[in-house]
Amino acid sequence: MVILGLQFGHDASVAILKDGELLLCYERERTNRIKHTLGLNIEDIELCLRDAGLSLDQVDFVTLTSTQLIEYIQTDKTQMSLSLERLPGHRYPCTLTDKLATTPEQMETYSSGWLKYIADSRPDHPIHKLHENLKQYANEEQMWGSFEHFVNIPLWQKVVGLDEMAATDYSTVMGDDVSQGFHYPATITLKGRKIPAYVFAHHFAHAAYSYYSSPYNQAAIISHDGGGGGYGYGSGLFFYALGNRLYPITPHNLFVGEIYDVSGLKLNFHSGPPGKLMGLSAYGKPRFYDPKFVGNWHDLKQMPADSFFNHCLQSAEKMGYDLKPLGKKDQMLAPINIDIAASVQKLAEEIMLKSVFVLDKICHNSGVGAVSNLCLTGGVALNCPANTRIWKESTFSNIHLPPAVGDMGLSIGSAYALYYNIMQNNFVPTQTSPKLAYQGLRGSSSKDLIEKAVEAYSDRLKVTRLDLSFKMAAKDLSDNKVIGWFEGESEVGPRSLGHRSILSNPTHAENWPRVNRIKGREIWRPFAPSVLAEKADQFFYGTQMPSYFMLLNAQVRVNNLPAITHADGSARIQSVSSECGNYYHLLKELDELTGIPVVMNTSFNGPGEPIVETPEHAIEFLLRTDMDALYLGDFRLEKRGL
């Protein structure tokens, strides 16, 4: 059974699931070089099938997702087109068709048209940057969907506040009707072949990715991101999962994601506002935090997402802050900016903590009892301090955070949802492994491709071939060189985890500004460490649970790692185990050389660029920056003349 998962919204991706096993997940941004790109073409699908050794004829089903309100772009309908036609292959249960007799025409009434509207009327909107030529395809013929509207029950409009949810018995909601009401049959025609497909609800796919990649056979799940605005199920839901079944409990109506996004934009972080805001928050104190803002959109009387930011400004004015540096790039560490960032961060943490307690209470009140396992997903799950507090302070003993919690993981999630929840195949959980992250294209790191790239650039490179490249790389790091490390399949998700990384020595404070200059980032932005999992406890506090995907924080317990110790003494660590490949051996070797099995690890990309995917991307980066060396397969490369 081959299922092709397609995510058409931002962070567009393709996943291939064969008999329930994930073969790959490809993020289109890595090849078209547009960060967070949206839309897919037939070429992307063929590239992935080739990489997995499959052909179009072998695809049994396709699953479709998009970002909230974003339509599916059909750039060339002769090659790839979408419709709501039902095929004989659509034999699996679907509440919308089986119980509600929802027609394709009815479904189409609810298609959004948002992207087309923006493309037509807002030429300055940043979404234009996410596609090669959005304007060209913004017509009714080539835009399809998107569909956000699945099953509903009146209870979800009746019980809307977090405290009310905590006092509600949802046991009757957690059944087949709702569980099978978040997908809709469709047809995708690829090169003339009609394949049965299912459109999946955004957060259902998020939740499915997190749960079916977890080591649990029972879990509570929170999916939450910046879309949807805190009403309906656009911004996320609480779920409960048992065995192979995934049960939506209720929309949670949270809008942490939106508050965070809006606050980041107001501080003038126009690219990657949440990540930058999270980094800045550690410099400040949450002086404007007020517990009265802890709640969901309904608890807060449907307040606009910028209300908390405005509250911060009003409080700052009363406290006598200098407001002139607000949002100024060259004064980002001014008290007004850092204290707003810290206050927004604190609010996000408190709301998420409260939500987790509410979910726990719901499980108790709904006859599920005590649940030990929590899965977090959606863009808000990239917030490491919040994740860490949830792990430490919540009632859940274990939490699972897979590497692609953003929209790139939807292609995997929808494929899992179809295979396990809808087709009801047996789900056997497996231990969390770092390999969950290394799901990129195998072809991008083939020996042949690397050799060809090295040959093509040989006139500008000093090339050394090595038997054990990690030994020389460790030596370079101990000599305080900044190196690029390119190994095997690339990482899925936003973090570089030692397969496409820029590495440096964390014991030298100057590497913080130096690598920020190499990457073209703001000088204050922090860096994360990778540490041997078995020795993490010697260097960091709070590492009882391995942080394989850099989604948890720890406190640095030593004084000799200045380049990765953030202003508040924290670090967003990656625990490296033997399943990480040669990256593990590099850290082992570094430990032998220096006694410190820690490297400063940052994503292998320049400003505004996606992470490098191919050997050419990596070599080009070496040639245009001050990075000292690049390790590419068996090769050590330096710029000529050095």
């Binding site: 309100l69 509440t95 919308l96 119980k99 509600l100 929802t102 009815q106 009434t109 609810y110 959004s112 048209g113 948002w114 509207y117 956000e148 509207h149 699945f150 099953v151 509903n152 029950i153 009146p154 209870l155 009746k158 019980v159 009310e164 006092a167 509600t168 018995d169 949802y170 009757t172 909601v173 009707d177 709702v178 009401g181 605005g229 009403y231 309906g232 199920y233 656009g234 726990d360 108790h364 009140n365 005590a370 430490k392 302070e393 919540s394 009632t395 003993s397 506090y541 709070g542 009882q544 406190q555 317990r557 004084n559 003494g569």
Partner: protein
């Protein structure tokens, strides 16, 4: 002055102590909350149960979620 210098020298140690305490607190957090969970929040269990809202059949009627987006950037239920 000497006291200040001594204090400054000891700062990293103090930080370690604080971190160690935070770490211990984190390790204990699970236990703390599990205990809290086991303890009844209301001495009268029946009374507590009656506070829980149990949906009736009308609450659970299956329907199609009407949350249409209206050109201009609003949703039907937020317009």
């Amino acid at each position: 002055m000497k006291t200040v210098r001594t204090f400054v020298k000891k700062l990293p140690i103090l930080r370690d102590v604080v971190n160690e305490l935070q770490s211990l607190r984190a390790q204990n957090a699970d236990l703390r909350f599990q205990v809290q969970q086991l303890a009844p929040t209301d001495s009268n269990g029946d009374k507590e149960q009656s506070k829980i809202y149990k949906p009736d059949a009308n609450d659970l009627n299956l329907e199609f979620f009407d949350r249409r987006w209206i050109p201009g950037g609003k949703h039907k239920d937020k317009a």
